[in-house]
């Protein structure tokens, strides 16, 4: 009998599929990359087809399907929420209840039916795991640690919103949890909504705004919104939140506490939003630190594994590491619900006798999170030749050297190599790269390529062996989920007396020798690149260092605002031609913008991409 387990997360946000063989992750991908709809929540049919194709398997070869949460239990929580919110939840009830009756409460059956409809063979049994068990399994089993405390923090699944686990060898045991509606993820989302950003995707923007503000509302949050105990457990005061009634996150309660109505989406940002962002970020970090200490005390472990949407808060992760509560912290790269597909599959696999074969290698089991589709050079060349696209073919070393020269000359490079990333970050397989020493690079990349607000900082990718030369970070951060301060040696003296600049003007101050990746608070969201996890990207960084002396590149995802990261060579080429990317590297091929034929499209493509 086969050991293949197919994990699926679907129907809420960012549907995804993972295929595991024992504890080995064969393939994992989010549906949005195939359908080109950002955070697509539909049944991930194309991701299923891809994962099976990668393994050369059909559903006949799969021993079981694991769904990432328990729909029946979740339905009971939804019923309790309707009952608890009366008489104010009528509109929410009307809008959401029919969908629960029709489909959502039997999501397992929907999965079975949809799988059967793919015509890929007989559907094996479909098992439903708990939402937080899926997160915890995704955090612990692939981690490089023999044993660890495991902490999952998110919005909500069934009832749990925060959960603590103890991982030992092939076992993962629950320790304690906190329940809905008391949720750190919901608290953060409430402020995301109140500041005029989209819930479930704008949280990043709020975190990016925080360094521009002062946390003058933090005390109000502590006094009115959250009762945080010494052991990290907490409750929210639901009188101030609207999400039990559905529809919106906040209302009059927030308006009274935080000086008036919420900011409307896309309208101008004011001091208040900066300060709100700084305030909720400060409180979030405080809660996460207390939770981490609780995890340490409950388990006695010296390592921590993290997952859940709040584990994407890389500023909080950075603080957790800096406080040295643990000797090592590992964050699941797909920390959000997409990663639940992987966790559910691993939970079933481990229960059926799989062992963690990667332990002892010193590496985690995520393969650098490069778990998606790859395109061979022959496929890329066939596409380029068919489309009449001019290119230069180079061997890997010459390609890295040439790309490094282009980058050093200030060119922006689209970098497309090997297997696509699983999880929200581009890690050097589907990335846009630039020279971080160039002070113009941040605003240039933001406005000319990403077409987005300029306050969001870019992330640096650094050779793992050089990380401490540039950043105050004592462990690896392969998945760009840890924020660390710029090393003293890289700071510029002028930075400290720039105190007069306010708000977004502070962006213009040059603070370090790598200004394009230095945030206004002297921090950076670091990705350490190892030869083991990502040889092609490591080779490029090495070549860039040889060319310039600098082992750091700006690394941002290969897409424009509002669009999923590119998956195929065609999508990469389209993005290259629509933007002011200067050079495109597709596998072993180098394409210069100046050599390309004129790009013509009907209408304005930007109309088709929704604002994020």
């Amino acid at each position: 009998m086969s050991d293949l387990i197919l994990g699926i997360s679907a129907y809420y946000h960012d549907s995804a599929v993972a295929l595991v063989d024992g504890d080995t992750v064969v393939a994992a991908a989010q549906e949005e990359r195939f359908t080109r709809r950002r955070h697509d929540a539909a049944f991930p049919a194309q991701a299923v087809e891809y994962c099976l194709r990668e393994a050369g398997a059909t559903l006949k070869d799969v021993a079981a399907v694991a769904y990432y949460e328990d729909p029946a239990l979740k339905f009971r929580r939804v019923l309790a929420t309707y009952a608890g919110a009366v008489p104010f939840g009528a509109a929410s009830f009307r809008d959401t209840f029919p969908e629960w009756i029709r489909r959502k409460r039997r999501a397992g059956e929907s999965v079975r039916r949809e799988l059967a409809g793919l015509g890929l063979g007989p559907v094996p049994e479909v098992l439903c795991r708990r939402h937080h068990e899926s997160h915890a399994a995704s955090a612990f089993f692939p981690s490089p640690y023999e044993s660890a405390a495991v902490l999952c923090i998110d919005g909500v699944g069934e009832w749990a919103t925060t959960s603590l686990w103890h991982g030992r060898g092939d076992r993962l045991d629950p320790v304690a949890e906190l329940h809905f509606p008391h949720s750190l993820g919901m608290l953060y989302s409430a402020f995301t909504y109140f500041c005029g950003f989209k819930v479930d995707s704008g949280e990043y923007k709020l975190m990016g705004l925080a360094p521009y503000g002062t946390p003058r509302y933090a005390d109000v949050i502590r006094e009115k919104l959250i009762d945080l105990k010494a052991d990290g457990s907490f409750r929210l005061d639901m009188r101030y939140f609207e999400y039990l009634r559905g529809q919106v996150m906040t209302g009059r309660g927030f308006e009274k506490l935080f000086d008036g109505p919420r900011r409307l989406p896309e309208s101008a940002l004011s001091e208040r939003e900066f300060d709100l962002a700084a305030s909720v970020q400060e409180v979030t970090e405080e809660v996460v630190l207390r939770l981490a200490r609780a995890a340490q005390q409950f388990t006695g472990e010296t390592r921590l594994c993290l997952a859940g949407g709040v584990a994407l808060n890389c500023v909080a992760n950075g603080r957790t590491i800096r406080e040295e509560i643990f000797e090592g912290v590992w964050v699941q790269p797909a920390a959000g619900d997409a990663g639940g597909a992987l966790g559910a599959a691993l939970a079933v696999a481990m229960e059926r006798g799989a062992t963690r074969t990667h332990l002892g290698t010193g590496h985690d089991a995520m393969s650098g999170s490069l778990l998606g589709p790859a395109y061979r050079d022959e496929e890329i060349q066939a596409y380029l030749d068919d489309a009449g696209i001019p290119y230069t073919r180079l061997d890997r070393d010459a390609l890295a050297a040439r790309t490094a020269v282009e980058l050093a000359q200030g060119k922006v490079v689209g970098w497309f190599q090997d297997r696509m990333e699983f999880g929200p970050r581009a890690l050097g397989a589907r990335s846009i790269l630039g020279d971080p020493r160039n002070p113009e690079m941040q605003s240039a990349m933001n406005l000319k390529i990403k077409f987005r607000e300029s306050f969001r900082p870019f992330a640096p990718a650094v050779l793992d062996s050089d990380v401490e030369e540039y950043f105050q970070l004592k462990q690896e951060s392969p998945y760009m989920l840890v924020v660390a301060d710029i090393a003293d040696a890289r700071r510029l003296p002028a930075a400290d007396d720039a105190g007069d600049a306010r708000g977004l003007d502070r962006l213009k101050v040059r603070r370090s020798t790598i200004p394009a990746v230095t945030h206004v608070d002297m921090s950076a969201r670091v990705q350490t690149v190892s030869e083991h996890a990502n040889p092609a990207f490591h080779r490029l960084l090495t070549a860039f260092k040889a060319e310039t002396g600098c082992p750091v590149l700006v690394n941002t995802s290969f897409n424009v605002r509002g669009e999923p990261i590119v998956r195929s060579p065609q999508e990469a080429y389209t993005c290259f031609m629509r933007t002011r990317i200067d050079v495109l590297v597709l596998g072993g091929f180098l394409l210069l913008k100046d050599d390309q034929p004129v790009w013509a499209e009907d209408g304005d493509w930007r109309d088709e991409i929704p604002l994020d």
């Binding site: 309790a80 008489p87 009307r94 629950p174 907490f234």
Partner: protein, 43 residues
Amino acid sequence: MLGLLLYYLFVVPVGLILRLVRDPLRRRPDPSAESYWITAARS
């Protein structure tokens, strides 16, 4: 609308009665509690 009818005829009365007994969502903080953790043994 059927949905709204169902809500006011069924969900509202059930919800109100439930809440007389105990708030199913435990919505308010409890300043006297030492911890809010629900440990695995108790859940």
